[in-house]
Amino acid sequence: MSSYDFEQDLRDRMRERAAVIDRTISPAPPLRTLLAGRPATGRARMSTRLGLALAVATVAAATVAVLALATISGPPLSHGLAPSSPLSSVTPSARPPITTLAPTPSPSTEPSEPTKSPPPTVSAGVLNVAVASAQGDASTLAIGGGRTASPWR
């Protein structure tokens, strides 16, 4: 193969491949559009469209999420009640159960050494009144038949 033939062969094959590329090139956009810097060509145009689609999808997803949260997050406060029914008509079962907690000894409640404070100075008169009051309570309990009287009964 002569040198000329080889170069001509290379030229032909190169143009054959380049023709494939040429077919997919977009027509030239208007010069004004191109100079204005608007993304009228190539990846810039593609990314603009993609960004727009992404923004719309994000807004739609956010709306759906807000609606779903509003539906799930809880029934309205007047659930099961007519708007005009009084509060007293609420049945006890509607109340939330009150959990009773067993008293647990806390390690921090260990008896600590009492702080030294000056002993209370009580006058003799006041002490007598206190003793008499205590005796009175004891007699009240005896009147009740020996049963422990509860102040809540």
Partner: protein, 175 residues
């Protein structure tokens, strides 16, 4: 006042002349940009940026001395170099010639990309560029030298060495 009166007409005339150059050069400019970046959308972006820069130069009186095609190619080449130097996020960077073809490319484009890849693998990047400019765009030594920043003798050296490398592997052309 005379300048102010004359400038709108001159600008319109100048814009019309530039638009003619632009319309005539667009397909070849995109093809050259594709050879440089090997990505369809990137190539169009590079071509558009090159036209913007060329218009700015044209407006400031730094137009082409003779043939506008080598002038536009040189600007496109600088755009590619600038973008590859600029630090950008990995997914925003300009594709390069050694990147795999984009998944959205048609079969014909992928085949063409693979063929140019094999051609480039046979020789150095400078030799490849000189060969492409010579045989795909029919440019002379002076024009290629202006684009690549080489002397005409340097262009001839690169072309002949590239051809010699190709002759050693003629099967590349048949693929």
């Amino acid at each position: 006042l005379r300048v102010a009166e004359a400038s709108p007409a001159r600008t319109l005339e100048s814009d019309a002349a530039f638009e003619q150059i632009y319309l005539a050069a667009w397909p070849r400019l995109c093809r050259y940009a594709w050879v440089l970046v090997r990505h369809h959308e990137d190539a169009e972006d590079v071509a558009a940026e090159a036209i913007r820069r060329a218009y700015a130069a044209w407006q400031s009186g730094r137009g082409p001395a003779a043939d506008p095609i080598p002038w536009l190619f040189l600007i496109a080449r600088r755009v590619v170099i600038d973008r590859n130097r600029r630090p950008v996020l990995p997914w925003c960077r300009l594709s390069r010639a050694d990147d795999p073809p984009a998944p959205a490319d048609s079969l014909g484009r992928v085949e063409a990309a693979v063929w140019f890849d094999q051609l480039r693998d046979c020789m150095s990047p400078r030799q490849h560029e000189a060969i492409v400019l010579r045989f795909l765009f029919d440019m002379g030594d002076d024009q290629i030298g202006r684009i690549m920043g080489l002397s005409p003798a340097g262009v001839r050296t690169n072309v002949s060495r590239g051809l010699a490398a190709l002759r050693k592997r003629p099967e590349v052309l048949d693929r």
